[in-house]
């Protein structure tokens, strides 16, 4: 078993463990933290399998954009009289300790691959598919799929704007009715 196989198994173990913690946790923000760790370990696995472009997209889009949207909505929903107390409770180190330990293991794997893994050993996978090939495939045979996904994203944008606008307007009117 080579070192990169070990890296794969450690990352797979972290992915399964953090996903189990994410779906069984009672506190939504902590579950989101565990799910972000699961996405990071999936990104490590993508890199080991020889897909560096998908690995970077996993971190940027999934962990960066989608999970931040989740966190933003959770913090919006929790507005209330006890929110300051809750904020104070979230600043304790104890909540983030589990995800931090798992992320530190992933960071150790990154350091291992960067400093000890790559130069003597062969590349992570037999074939590395880089972003150039993905781009050529996207705008060659799959250009209809690109157009369809752009249409889907536009539909999602309009739908989210419509639903969000209505909910904000109703909240404002409720607040006005409450003050009068």
């Amino acid at each position: 078993m080579s070192g990169l196989d070990t890296t794969f198994y450690v990352a797979a173990g972290i992915a399964v463990l953090s996903t189990v913690k994410a779906i069984t946790h009672f506190h939504a923000v902590r579950a989101l933290l565990y799910f972000i760790v699961s996405l990071l370990s999936a990104s490590v696995i993508f890199f080991i399998l020889g897909n560096p472009f998908a690995a970077s997209l996993e971190v940027i889009t999934y962990a960066g954009a989608i999970m931040v949207l989740f966190l933003f909505i959770m913090m919006t929903l929790n507005l209330g009289s006890r929110s300051i107390q809750q904020e104070r409770a979230w600043f304790s180190l104890k909540d983030g300790l589990g995800p931090l330990i798992l992320a530190a293991i992933l960071l150790g794997e990154l350091a291992y691959t960067l400093f000890w893994g790559l130069p003597p050993s062969p590349p992570p996978s037999a074939v590395v598919v880089d972003a150039t090939q993905v781009g050529k495939a996207l705008f060659g045979p799959y250009v209809v799929g690109v157009e369809l996904s752009s249409l889907l994203l536009l539909t999602g944008l309009i739908g989210a704007y419509h639903l969000g606008y209505r909910s904000i307007a109703s909240a404002i009117s409720e607040k006005k009715a409450g003050t009068q």
Binding site: A22, I23, F35, N51, F53, F70, I73, L77, A126, S149
Partner: protein, 102 residues
């Protein structure tokens, strides 16, 4: 082929998908249900990536990009619906939404 065997990557994707399915079934908080759907989409993307790297083609990553677009759209519309539901029912419990008629 000195990489990781395809079976083990697919096994990991299957385990993650079943965990997401269990999350949909056992949780009643609607944010957790959305999160579990994200877990399932991510697991299917992992299966595509594993198969694509096994055959050495870019098709796996192309389909991963499509899954990413679907996940982003689903989350934005789903969270907007969650906001509306929370403003109407003042709860995140999915069972409470069964009072909705029509």
């Amino acid at each position: 082929m000195n990489g990781v065997p395809l079976e083990q990557s697919l096994l990991l994707a299957g385990i993650l998908f079943i965990l997401g399915l269990m999350g949909v079934l056992i949780r009643r908080d609607i944010v957790f249900i959305l999160l579990s759907i994200e877990i399932m989409l991510n697991a299917s993307g992992l299966a595509f990536i594993a198969a694509g790297s096994h055959w050495g083609t870019a098709d796996g990553q192309v389909f991963y990009l499509f899954i990413l677009a679907v996940a982003a759209t689903e989350v934005s519309v789903g969270l907007a619906l969650v906001l509306r539901m929370f403003h109407r029912f003042k709860t995140l419990d999915a069972d409470a939404y069964s009072r909705m008629r029509g």
